[in-house]
Subunit: 138 residues, 2 copies
Amino acid sequence: MVSRAELKEELIRAGIRPSVQRLAIFEYVRQSCQHPTAEVVYEALRDELGSLSLTTVYNTLKLFVDAGLIMMLTIDDTFRCFDGNCCSHAHFLCNSCGKIYDFELKRNYVDIVEGLDGFEVTDAQLYLKGVCPKCSKK
Amino acid sequence: MVSRAELKEELIRAGIRPSVQRLAIFEYVRQSCQHPTAEVVYEALRDELGSLSLTTVYNTLKLFVDAGLIMMLTIDDTFRCFDGNCCSHAHFLCNSCGKIYDFELKRNYVDIVEGLDGFEVTDAQLYLKGVCPKCSKK
DNA sequence: CTTTGTGCAAATTCTTTGCACCAAA
DNA sequence: TTTGGTGCAAAGAATTTGCACAAAG
């Protein structure tokens, strides 16, 4: 659990002014163990903040993604969601319950790819889909 | 290069009636070394077929994806595209020219993921982004 | 003839944009 | 007092749906 003050510092270091809305959104995405969509962030914070618009959520999430503070996931083509953990890791989407799980990697993605010489890789995502243990028990 | 007759057979084996439109769309996606969007497929085939609607392209591509004949890629969140090659391989999107490259894998995706026990993986995608050799020379 | 496919137009959904107002440095 | 942020309403883009007609078995 990171403090609000630390998150605020992180925004400032990234050149982003820490408005109330931005800090709340940043905190929410960072602390969330789920992978919220813009809509979910909006619903979760609108009461807490009193005033919040979906536009601001979209603007802010885009700002954070561009600054490299969070990641956008497109593991499912029907929705975009966000991950506050930028450390390299894989994602698993359960086709049954819809939950997205995080997994650590034993080695770098590019190690398993043949013939990448000359290609400069700046970003990588490994998306897995299937059925999670909870759902396969049922 | 696979013949039309073979592609037709493949559709029938998958339980899909090989209408003129479906066969043309299947052939196009299979033979294409690009990774066309629905729009691109539509533009490419509308003249050849005389009559074709974007709706049919969407319907048909969805039909093929559900049947496991082709794959949908969401490597870029701004467009969906399709890959006729269902053999496991990685994709690289050049952020400069927009081209998507295919890469073979040295080993299976799941080999590099930690703690997948109990998870049944039915589908996997490795998406890489960066700059391709052609663009980095410029 | 009976089922299935096609394609138009309209609806839907998600996201972005324009713009006026507000807040902070 | 100037720059930047927020949020409403409207626009935009991609995809899906409803339905009538066409085609194939």
